[in-house]
Structure formats: C-alpha cells, structure tokens
Subunit: 452 residues, 2 copies
Amino acid sequence: MMVKEYIDSNIQRFQDELFEWLRIPSVSADSRYKQDVRKAAEFLKAKFQEIGVDHAELCETGGHPIVYAEKKVNPSAPTILVYGHYDVQPPDPLDLWISPPFEPQVRDGKIFARGACDDKGQVYMHVKAFETMSRLNRLSCNVKFMVEGEEEVGSENLASFVRDNKEKLKADIILISDTAMISLDHPSITVGLRGLSYMEVEVTGPNRDLHSGVYGGAIANPVNVLCRMIASLHDDKGRITIPGFYDKVVELKPAEREALNRAPFSLETYKRDLQINEIWGEEGYTTLERTGIRPTLDVNGIWGGYTGEGAKTVLPSKAHAKISMRLVPNQSSEEISKLFTKHIKAIAPPTVSVNVIAHHGGEPAVTPTEGKAFAAAAKAFESVWGKRPIPTRDGGSIPIVALFKKELNLDTVLMGFGLDSDAIHAPNEHFGVKNFRMGIETIVAFHKHYAE
Amino acid sequence: MMVKEYIDSNIQRFQDELFEWLRIPSVSADSRYKQDVRKAAEFLKAKFQEIGVDHAELCETGGHPIVYAEKKVNPSAPTILVYGHYDVQPPDPLDLWISPPFEPQVRDGKIFARGACDDKGQVYMHVKAFETMSRLNRLSCNVKFMVEGEEEVGSENLASFVRDNKEKLKADIILISDTAMISLDHPSITVGLRGLSYMEVEVTGPNRDLHSGVYGGAIANPVNVLCRMIASLHDDKGRITIPGFYDKVVELKPAEREALNRAPFSLETYKRDLQINEIWGEEGYTTLERTGIRPTLDVNGIWGGYTGEGAKTVLPSKAHAKISMRLVPNQSSEEISKLFTKHIKAIAPPTVSVNVIAHHGGEPAVTPTEGKAFAAAAKAFESVWGKRPIPTRDGGSIPIVALFKKELNLDTVLMGFGLDSDAIHAPNEHFGVKNFRMGIETIVAFHKHYAE
C-alpha cells in the first residue's frame, strides 16, 4: 500500500482521534486546568503505545510532565528527535468563539478548536506519520518524541530536563512542526525565529482606590501614568526607546534583505484579511522585515480601575500591563529583560511606585539552510506540494530551538504546516483539514529523504 | 426630653436599622442587582411610614424608582426638600474588602459597608432626625424627601421627574447630605461642586486577536495606540490638551483663591494618608485649588488583551478606557463631552478605528454663602460641633444641584458629614459612628434655625 493511500483511507479516524485530544482543555497557564493538562499527556502516551513505539513515558518535572517516546529501527540509521507541545493557550475571550474552544468542529474545511494548530494538531501529524510508516513497514530513521506541556508558559522545566537527559535525547536533528507556511500555494520552511522577553508592570499610586471627584487632579492617576510610560516606549519612527535595546541587533546585508522580500506577500491581502486601513511599524523596513528580522514591543494586556458595566468614578490605586518584546539575533532575552526593567524604573515619575516582573523569555534563533536536513525537508515539501519551499523568517518564538543548539549541539528543521491566518492564541483557532492530511504525508517524505 | 438625649438613647436602634438597609446591595450600575435596588427603595418607604410622614410612595421612572415622602406641619412654615440617593457604587474589587461590603460591621468607631457614607448612611441621618423631631414634637418646617436610586449612574431619570413634578416638589430650600467635612475637628459646608463628563473610548485595530509574534511590529497594537492617545491628553504642566477645554472656565479672583487656601490643609498628612511620595497636578495651583476650582481628566478604568494569570502573547483586537472629566463653572457637560469626542477622533491614527460614547454627565454648581439657609446651616454646625463651619469647594459632583436651580429655581445647602478618608467608591467604605450621631443632631438644629 502506498503512503498516500494509507493516509487517505485512515484520515477520518486520525481526525477523530485528534478531536478527542482537543477536547481535553490542557491550558498550562491556568492552574485550574492542571488535571486536564496531565490528562492530555496521558492521552498522548497511550497513543504512542498504540502505534508501536519501543517505549513511552511521562517524565515528571517541577510543572507539567513531558511525554517521551522512542523507536529504535536500526543503529546505523539517523535519529530524528521530534519536539512539540501538548499544552494550549487560554481560550478567552470566550464570547468571541463561534463554536466552543474545546468542542472541535469542522467548518469550511477547517478544524476549529483551541490547539487545533498550536500545537496539538501539528504534533498529531507526527504521531500519525509514524503510524503510517510503521504499518507500511517504511520506518527508515530512529525516532524520539519529546512533547512538553509548558511551551505556552515559557518551557520553564524543559532546560533542566534537556540538560539532565543528554544521552536519552541524543539525535542527529530536531524536527519541529509549530510554525506556519506562507500559504497553501507556497510551502515554506522557517529558518529564523524571534526570541521573547515577557514582562509585567505594576504601577501603584495611592494606597487605595479613591473617588475621582475628591482626589482627581491633585494626585497622579496610576493608569494615566502607565499610559504615559507605555506611550514613551516607541518614538515617532516606531523605534523602541529603551536605551541599549538595539545594540546587539544583527543588521542583515542588503542581499539578505532582498532575498527575504522576494517571498510572496500582498499588502492589500494582508490589510483586507485584518480589516485595517493602514499598517504600522518601524520606519525603513517592510512588513516582512518588521516581523522577521526586527525586534518589537507590544502590550499584550492592560488593566486597571473599573472595567465593568456602566460608570464608576474611581481613581484606581493600581494599574497593570503585560508587555512583551520579540527579539532577533543576537539580542539576549535576559539582557533585554534587564534593560526593560531598568528603563521602566527610570521613567517612572516619583508620584508612583513601580514593580516589574519578568515572565518567561526565549532566545532568537536562526537555523541552517545548508546540509542534509534542510535538503530533505525541501525535497519532502516539493514531492507533496509540487513546489519548492521558500525559506522564511518567522515573527514568533520557539525558545527550544536555541536551547537545543546550546545544550545538545543540534540543529533544528522547522516544518510548519499552519497558516498565519489560523488565529492561534486567539478566538476561533483553526487548522486546515488539508494541511493536516498533507502535513502527515510531508513528514513521512522527510523521514524517507533524511535516511537517504 | 432633649434632642441629644433622644438621639443618644436610640442611637443603637438607629444604627441597627441602617445596617439592615446596608445589607441590601442596591448597586444601580449592575443590572444583576435590579431587584435589590427596588428592595432598598421599599425598605426606605416603609421607614418613612413608620416615622409618621403624611404620605410616602415609590415613584416609578424609566429606571430605578424614586422614594418620595412628605410631612406638612404648618402652611406658613418654610419647606425643606431633602434630596439623597439609596443606590450605591459597585463593590469591586471585592478581594480588598476587610469585611464583606454588604455585611456592615463596626470597627474603630466606624461603620464599614458599601453605602455606609455614600449615601445611605447620610440619608438615614435625615430619616432619624425627622423621627427625633416628630417624637419630641419639634417639627418646625414642612419636609419633603426625594431619594433616588440612580445617582451613581448619572441620575438619568431624575431631570424629567423634577420637570414633571414641579408642584409636588415646591419648597424653599434643598438640603443634601452627600458631601464631606474637612475633618472631625473642622465642620465645613460645601459651596461649590464640580460637574462631570464620563466617556468611554473603544479602539479597534485588527478584526481579531492576533499572535503577537506573527504580527507584532507590523501593525498598530490598539492598546499601545490607546496609551499614546491617553498620554497626550495632558501636557507637561498637567494641563488638559483638548482644544477649547478651558475656554469657559471661570478664573477666581486672587482674593477668592486666598480665601479658599485658608482652609486647614496639611500636605504632609494628605501624602501620608495616601502613602504617596509626591503629589501631582496642574502647574500654578494648590491641591485645594486643583480639586476645588480646576477641571481635571482621569482614566477610571482601562482594559484590553490578556489580563489573566501568566503570560499570553496576544496582540489584541480592541482596547477600552473609561475616562471622566470633572468640570467647573461655567463649563457645560454636554459641550465638554462633544469636545472630548471630537478631539479623540482627531488624534486617533489611521491605523485604528475609534468609538466614543458618553455616559452620564452633570453640571458644576456653586451655592450661595449668603441668605437664611447658609446662615441656619452655619449656626447648626456651630451649636453641635462648637466651631463655625468653613465654606469649601468640593471636587465631587452632585449634578442635581444645578438641575434644581435650573428647573425649580431653588438653592441648595450641602451639609455633608462624611470625611474624605471614608473611602467612598472604594473598598472598605466607612462612616464614623460619631459622624452619624452628630449629623442627626446637626440636621435637627438646622430645621430649628431655618424656621426661626
């Protein structure tokens, strides 16, 4: 039986199994879902056991467990270490979902559910690609799987797990499907990822909420102060004003920038898809450059005072913001977090006190476009999608890529099958049924070419 | 029996009755409390009936009912119209209350509960002052009570009620207890109140929440944009930048400002009470001036993006803020709301769309310091507190004062017995037991002097 035939005749079952997994709300950020996160891990372990790995286990960590599985085919064959994550982003705002986030549904050829694309759907392609190769007796590489449950909260326990298990994780290449392709017409391979510093700022004014009539105008309002501080973090050219922020940023050569801008991209389609009239960003760079090779700063959340129905004339005691920065080579997450903290404290007026905490961070990474792994991935895409994949730089972060390089000295191939429009981290996250099916086929092809 | 004796021997019962009223969560802003708001009105009506008014009723409006009661003593005696409100502010943030907001408790000689001071506690002093005068046969003025249930949401139905009931509400003076005294040592009478424009701004960027890695830096983030807009609403001298905002502001004469600044006020005590290192405000004005005679702008609430536990890398579709301005004579609430809306739309960048709605407003007011009513109030305070009250300008708003002047051509006397430190509109709102008791006595004294 041919690979495509096997996949096609089993795709409905593959999808049903994925749906079962998507129904488990494995939200790692929210402690109320702790048991569900474990349940999602147990589910995956059982699925690995069903498809005939040598060994599958839950590796306990200080937080959520890591699912590990392996199959040794031939000592002389290369070993692929597949990394992914089974935890998902929180589903809120819930009222914007058309169908509930943990009740997967297919509409317009897309699977709608939290985690459909990021990353349960993409991880499950690897599970089913393995099943396909195993049932058809086509396993050509040794395979190891490491699927964690803390990616969405900064992979806090992964670094020590990797450091403590170097022998177990020994491999020739890392394979990750947690990124997007340019479009269904243009397969692509991500060769650069941004890093991340995620900060939380708390501004405190008076020791209690006050009546805005009695005190308004006579003392600093922490919300107004926070807004002023946030506003000052960008200058009029869209550049970030934190001293030293750009010091380590690698400027690409004109030829590199030119190559990057050759990727198919329509500003009109982009604006239409988002329903915005104008784009915005750092002066002197294109949209592809702004998300691919330039660092950025965004408020991810802000709150303070009365946010309920109607009007409440309060002058709040506190204001909060979650602010994250995407980093590019050779910025360091730790260093940028420090610069941010120092700057925020420096610009805070004496009328308030400021507390800054650093959530998780991650380092930017660039993966090689030469060598056997990239070539195998390119061949695999071409054989299934009919087009040579385009190398791209992605705006998102997968901190594990830098970690693997540092701890295991392993390069990574990023074979992502999502689309930017998949609404990951947002309401109505989805993943194309076609992407899911062709992704499985492409993964099988990668194994074949990588063993050649 | 003397007035003081009657009050002292009944004060525990007075307080128990008030507690029963405070237990009814009459939050007018939140539709979930609709039945409780009515229950609080019914409670008050029953209390009026118990103390022997001629007539008490609930007057239905488009929103919450108005409690009306009256007692005619003598056609030739003057008529006092007491105004107050039985609705309360929302109690959140709930976790900052030491005892639950709707389970009143006395601690350190203070009654802690939502509404203890604003305004149930102060309204109830009038009810019990009436009882005292009635039982002791000392009623010297005709009395009308109008206690509404929508003060905290802008008294939307009061204006038409007043317009439609001019005959019923005919009186010689309005008496309101909904303000504060300078301190327990310094009785004061409020002679100026600020007006209010309360606005809500919604900034929309992309049509959905986005992944901040994939899109961050390439499109405008509505939270960052909103912060920038809010930051620009004040200049470096603390002045509001909305064009035309100060055009109608009445500048006080140097002598008037001097008189205002003679009120006892300690900046050190003020800062210590609020635990702030520095005050803030419009350059060239003192703290008393900033809250008394100058208009201001404060963010009362802001929200957007992810505000839960942990980190979520979202680039939100929308950001919101509730922004209110306190107004002084002769600014008009409607005009300022229009100027605000126009300015916000003018400064919104083309990368976002902006929606502005006006919540309730109210006009600023100044009450006369000459004439019989002010004199009677001053004498009443002096007889109970042993000191002549100081006329003050308050920062808060009681829009009804301007409304009464306009519709009924009646002046108002503001006999407030709260303290600025009573945490109205905030967690742990409270009202001194002593203030409650002496307030009742002072109100009785006012009736006596006003009839003289």
